[in-house]
């Protein structure tokens, strides 16, 4: 077998391994980190694009995975899912660019054009409605504190409370309280809808 074939064969089980196993393997076989990238980079990229725009996503995704690689020796092998860890790193890197993030959301609020989002409707009326909604929402998000924005967008991106707590390195109770405050602020900015009752009005 050639060297290349032998090396490639070493990656054969990568898809079946959980994240912790991949990271443990990458301690001795750094190239295994590529499998972790393949697994999570799309979601991390979307998360970053949502917060800083698609242009910034490429660089920050690269930075996120390089930081993760550098710190892989510290990864807690008891945690099979590396998503909170990676989201946490990305969130802290985003935090270094908080001005860019606020500027990004303010631009959406000002123009109604969301560079991170796909066009959602062909109909002019739908597009206008969507733009109006995104403007209000972006303005509300821009008005949050960094900590509140972190919690809100991590949860909105699909992380559970416990996962968001892990990502941010804070207790789950802190996530919960920050989320409550963040949602209240956003709700007020949007006109008082009840966040705890999907589809229902808070005044009812």
């Amino acid at each position: 077998m050639s060297d290349t074939a032998r090396q490639a064969a070493g990656h054969a089980g990568a898809d079946a391994d959980d994240d912790a196993t991949l990271i443990a393997r990458s301690l001795h076989a750094p190239e295994c980190f590529g499998a972790l990238f393949d697994r999570h980079a799309p979601a991390i990229s979307r998360y970053i694009a949502r917060r800083l725009g698609p242009d910034a996503a490429d660089d920050l995704v690269a930075e996120t995975f390089l930081v993760a690689f550098a710190r892989r020796g510290r990864y807690d092998a008891a945690r099979a899912d590396a998503r909170p860890w990676l989201y946490g790193i990305a969130t802290r890197l985003i935090g270094r660019r908080r001005r860019d993030e606020v500027r990004f959301f303010c631009a959406i609020a000002r123009t109604g054009v969301d560079p991170a989002a796909e066009p959602v409707a062909d109909q002019v009326t739908d597009r206008i409605a969507a733009q109006a909604a995104s403007r209000e929402l972006a303005a509300a998000v821009a008005g949050l504190s960094q900590a509140q924005r972190d919690v809100l967008l991590l949860v909105a991106s699909g992380l559970g409370y416990e996962e968001a707590a892990l990502a941010l390195g804070v207790p789950a109770g802190t996530v919960s309280s920050r989320l409550v405050r963040a949602r209240r602020k956003v709700r007020e900015a949007l006109g008082g809808q009840d966040p705890t009752r999907p589809g229902r009005d808070s005044q009812e």
């Binding site: 196993t21 750094p30 190239e31 990229s45 949502r50 930075e63 690689f69 710190r71 510290r74 807690d76």
Partner: protein, 482 residues
């Protein structure tokens, strides 16, 4: 529609990244990983300044920094604080005092003579670095370059006199294969005959990668080097021992622990040509929660055997980085032990502490070692014993920080007085400093080498040399910066 749903929709409206752009980002990441500086500590996964997984073939830094720039470190080096910093490179450097690199090994055959080896980071892959202390100043030693190499590094050195040194490491030939596949790596042995360095041809097993991490010489006709060889994928890696018989290097059969998919020897010390101890680590496959374990092997003049060694109770990983033997019945090995993170302590992940083990002639036992105050991310990587009552161990005391933040570390020196280990104050030139190895010629003359860097730019470390004069450790100023 409530605001959470709107937020989820807003996040969900972000399309998947363009596969081509993502592929480009992937290539950037893997290339940066592959080309980053690889301070070849035996295994310093636990500490930030040199968190290097020991691996034959390619060595990888724990502090590969994202998108690092050279400016910050250049500013540090150019500042008032100067440390030993000289380049051995295969092409001359116009600014020897502004060296980015790290010293990994040191050997002092006498009080006025030391030679240190490591890596020099230029734009591109690292090159081997050799420095010499002549009693007055550190200076650059010019060494040979392996042919068509992409990078070369020297990890270990042993000098029996001012005119007799052997240095070992690895080199990688230029390769056009994808960055995801590490290129084959070969062992590198260089010899100093008192006037020049030359490459000594050595054997290589028919495997993709092999490297040497340490060497111990007991005379001009007796040297033993240890390391590992195996597949570049990091699995099926075996211990590697080579011996200089006076005329050539030959491979000596060495055992591996049962069930190990990876075993590596980091350091070797010989009390005589018939009594050597090598330490390192091994890794059992299939149990990610049970990581590396201590590996100790003994040479009785005829064969190498694995020696039973204690594991720190409750640890999830432990490894030995260095060993020093004064006589057959007195060896000290140092390293790192790792414990699971505490609940709610996500920032630091697992906790890491110094590990010291002692051989009394019949068995190895764990000795109580110390750790600096603060969140533990500590490790010892070098040790030098002058007697059963005088050992010096060096390493780094790390500081845990949240993910995404830069780690920090300080130099760590501990001393054994025959009854207990104590921490000795040592200077740290920056918030990210560490010592790799130490060599002593007397109780009042020790030299430790390592590196230091900028937290914001950890990919560009600078060489570090410190000296113990019997009462205090101090930074050694490089002649090149005067």
């Amino acid at each position: 529609m409530n605001e959470m749903k709107q937020l989820e929709d807003m996040c969900g409206a972000v399309p998947p990244p363009d596969p081509r752009r993502l592929a480009g980002t992937r290539a950037r990441v893997l290339t940066a990983i592959a080309e980053g500086p690889r301070p070849a500590s035996r295994d310093a996964r636990g500490w930030p300044w040199l968190a290097t997984p020991a691996k034959p073939g390619r060595r990888w830094p724990g502090w590969v920094a994202p998108l690092a720039a050279a400016a910050a470190v250049a500013a540090v080096i150019a500042g008032a604080l100067t440390v030993s910093s000289a380049i051995h490179r295969h092409r001359a450097s116009p600014q020897a005092s502004r060296t980015r690199g790290i010293l990994i090994g040191v050997s002092c055959p006498g009080p006025s003579r030391c030679v240190a080896v490591g890596e020099y980071y230029q734009p591109g892959p690292p090159n081997a670095l050799i420095e010499r202390w002549d009693g007055y100043r550190w200076s650059i030693m010019r060494g040979p370059a392996p042919p068509a190499h992409a990078h070369a590094d020297l990890h270990g050195i042993s000098c029996t006199s001012a005119s007799e040194c052997t240095a070992v490491g690895s080199w990688t030939r230029n390769s056009r294969q994808p960055a995801t596949l590490p290129p084959p790596t070969r062992t590198l042995v260089e010899h100093w005959n008192g006037s020049a360095w030359s490459i000594v041809k050595g054997p290589n097993l028919p495997v993709p990668s092999s490297s040497l991490s340490a060497v111990a010489c007991t005379g001009t006709s007796g040297c033993v080097a240890v390391g590992a060889s195996g597949n570049s994928d990091g699995l099926h890696v075996r211990t590697l021992v080579e011996r200089w018989n006076g005329s050539q290097w030959v491979i000596v059969k060495s055992p591996d622990p049962a069930g190990a998919i990876y075993s590596f020897l980091s350091s070797i010390s010989c009390a005589s040509a018939w009594d050597c101890v090598a330490v390192g680590e091994y890794f059992l496959g299939g149990h990610p929660q049970v990581q590396n374990r201590v590996l100790i092997e003994h040479w009785n003049g005829f064969t190498w055997k694995v020696v039973a060694s204690p594991e720190p109770p409750g640890s999830i990983a432990s490894y030995l980085s260095a060993v020093s033997c004064t006589v057959e019945s007195n060896c000290v090995a140092v390293g790192t032990k790792r414990y699971p993170h505490r609940k709610g302590d996500f920032y630091g992940g697992p906790r890491e502490y110094t590990l010291i083990e002692h051989w009394n002639g019949s068995s190895w036992a764990i000795v109580r070692s110390l750790n600096p105050p603060g969140p533990p991310a500590d490790g010892l990587t070098g040790v030098a014993c002058m007697s059963a009552a005088d050992c010096t161990a060096v390493g780094a005391g790390g500081r845990l920080t949240p993910p995404g933040s830069a780690d920090g570390a300080s130099t760590l020196v501990e001393h054994w007085n025959g009854s207990a280990w104590s921490i000795v104050r040592s200077p740290s030139p920056s918030a990210n400093s560490g010592l790799s190895r130490v060599s002593c010629t007397s109780a009042a003359d020790c030299t430790a080498v390592g590196g230091f860097g900028d937290l914001d730019n950890p990919q560009s470390p600078s060489t570090l040399v410190e000296h113990w004069n019997g009462s205090a450790w101090s930074l050694v100023t490089p002649a090149a910066s005067k």
